[in-house]
Amino acid sequence: MASSHGTPPVFNNKVIAWIDYRLPIFSYIEKEYHTFPTPRNFNYFWNFGAIATVMLVLMIATGVVLATNYTPNVLMAFDSVERIDRDVPSGWLMRDLHMNGASFFFIAVYVHIFRGMYYGSYKQPRELLWILGVVIFLLMMATAFMGYVLPWGQMSFWGATVITSLFSAIPVVGDSIVTWLWGGFSIGNPTLNRFYALHYLLPFIIVAVVALHVVALHVHGSNNPTGIDPKGPQDTVPFHPYYTMKDGFGVVIFLIVYSAVVFFAPDMLGDAANYIPADPLVTPTHIVPEWYFLPFYAILRAVPDKLGGVIAMFGAIAVLFVLPWLDTSRVRSSTFRPIYKWFMLLLVVDVVVLGFCGANPPAGFWIPLSQVATLYYFVHFLILLPVLGKIERPLPLPPSIADSVLKKKAG
């Protein structure tokens, strides 16, 4: 699709034409972000790629200025964060934007992932596009985890201790790996220093992978709610102004919700214990990771075996890498999959339930609940997805995107 559209643009401005003849950046922008033929039937779920991009840029911008005032030393880190809040001009704003920005970046990406799964955006020929997305997700998790350590509060310290200790479950070399990760015999100054260095580095690697993600996207173009390929110009609109304006609107709405939290409840998503400076001798009564890790944390704790829990947790992410091959259905969009659609929504409920399990102490009914929810998570991917694709009878697909739009209008 993308390779077959349009003639090379002609630039009237002489300077632009001069540059473009030598380095075709303007042709590229014109082709990929202006005339780029995009399915005309996106719903608002398709905004979340743009929203996630805006959040990534915002996180890097606020992160860079925060780094100019932060001190990665166990004796000074906590106070230097407080100094940013109290004394540095606009420092509190940068920090509130950054710490809540992580949460809202994850919200955007989780919705984006849900959209990809519901509409089968990972299916042929977009498997690599999907895998690059999972890589971005992994890099985000690593970045967020290390960023949470930097304020050096009690949750920073103990969260880091618990998560890095996961690696000690690896047979034979586990303990050596943990010592290597820590740069010592416990979480300490060397750990804080390396986490800071990596926390600064990884976002730029994310930017690079996002660039690949976008390049891969533009090879075959976007999927759409019907899951059928555009068949001609009547099925598409130019990216600009149609989707630039629609994305812009979606971004502003998202920013309103984000601002409400940043300015009126900046500590809502955080943990009070992280305002207690890290103390290696006192463990908080209840260690919880940030909310966006809770489903995975619940899976970790659901398995009553150290190595088993770690394998289950990493398996929960690993399974996403092979998702394109687990799904055997020939239809992309769940809209036309009467049975799978409900299992897909059940998966969302399941992940939310896992989140609650992760937030609560592993006691009472939370234990069996988290085990059932973990079981469903894997059953969904490893059994339902391959089997349903074979036995489910999809609804009839519309003949074209334009046709489905017209039908909707009439109905």
């Binding site: 704003l93 519901y118 009126f264 305002y275 939310v352 937030a359």
Partner: protein, 262 residues
């Protein structure tokens, strides 16, 4: 299609609710009753007079054991005092420093100095307090579940030994010298009841009850935890109004652009 968007929206709402639920991590202790605070809500501000009285309570009572190390004396100007008033408040306070020959000395405090700590270091603080260092109070309101409500409840939540029921005494293994507090996790708290009626004599003439002192010092500590709160809320109102206007325009533009495609 529309049904799908609705179900998607429900799923999204569930996700956000799940996120919010983390903040409400369940505890087993008595929940501090909610009080009305001058600083709560999207337009709430600090009650300057209460915060000034609260500073007096901190300075005369709490500061004997608790540091407030993230605050500087100059910050007191923000609770409505003039520079000269603050200088008057700190004229008898000395802070440790080194002289030109590197010897430790005590010199008069300046506005730019951080609050004087009652103990030279954490070990000394623990040694002087039966092995448990009194926590720094700079961010105490943010560092405790329940925030200001908890601090106030803790300060007013002591129950004298002779008022405890035999069941409570048995269950918690309390002895006569223990301090029993309804709201402290585990109930047995190292800190003896710090406040009592007429413990301080307020310079503004306010009647000095235990409740008044607890409420004032909580207001002061809430301010100390987040002195920029009023600025944050003010900025927030402007940002959201701006974004609402932009959203309205963006929506109109989007409709215009899509008009011939629907």
């Amino acid at each position: 299609m529309r049904r799908l968007i609705v179900s998607g929206a429900i799923a999204l709402a569930a996700l956000v609710a799940g996120a919010g639920a983390v903040a409400i991590a369940a505890g087993t202790e008595a929940h501090p009753p909610h009080r009305h605070w001058h600083f709560q809500g999207p337009f709430g501000t600090y009650d300057r007079a209460a915060a000034q009285r609260g500073y007096q309570v901190y300075a005369e009572v709490c500061s004997a054991c608790h540091s407030l190390s993230l605050l500087a004396y100059r910050n007191l100007i923000e609770i409505g005092l003039t520079e000269n008033q603050v200088k008057g408040l700190i004229k008898d306070i000395t802070v440790p420093d080194l002289n030109d020959d590197g010897q430790p000395i005590d010199r008069p405090a300046r506005l730019s100095d951080r609050f004087r700590k009652p103990f030279p270091n954490e070990l000394a603080a623990a040694a002087a307090n039966n092995g448990k260092a009194p926590p720094d109070l700079s961010v105490i309101v943010k560092a405790r579940e329940g925030g200001a409500d908890y601090i106030y409840a803790l300060l007013t939540g002591y129950v004298p030994f002779d008022k405890l029921t035999p069941a409570q005494i048995k269950e918690l293994n309390v002895v006569k010298d223990d301090n029993y507090n309804t709201y402290f996790p585990g109930h047995r708290i190292a800190m003896a009841p710090p406040l009592s009626d007429d413990k301080v004599t307020y310079v503004d003439g306010t009647k000095s009850t235990l409740d008044q002192q607890a409420s004032d010092v909580t207001e002061f500590l809430a301010w100390a935890s987040e002195p920029w709160m009023e600025n944050r809320k003010r900025t927030g109102v402007r940002v959201i109004l701006f974004l609402l206007a932009l959203a309205g325009l963006m929506y109109a533009v989007k409709r215009q652009v899509w008009a011939n495609k629907h």
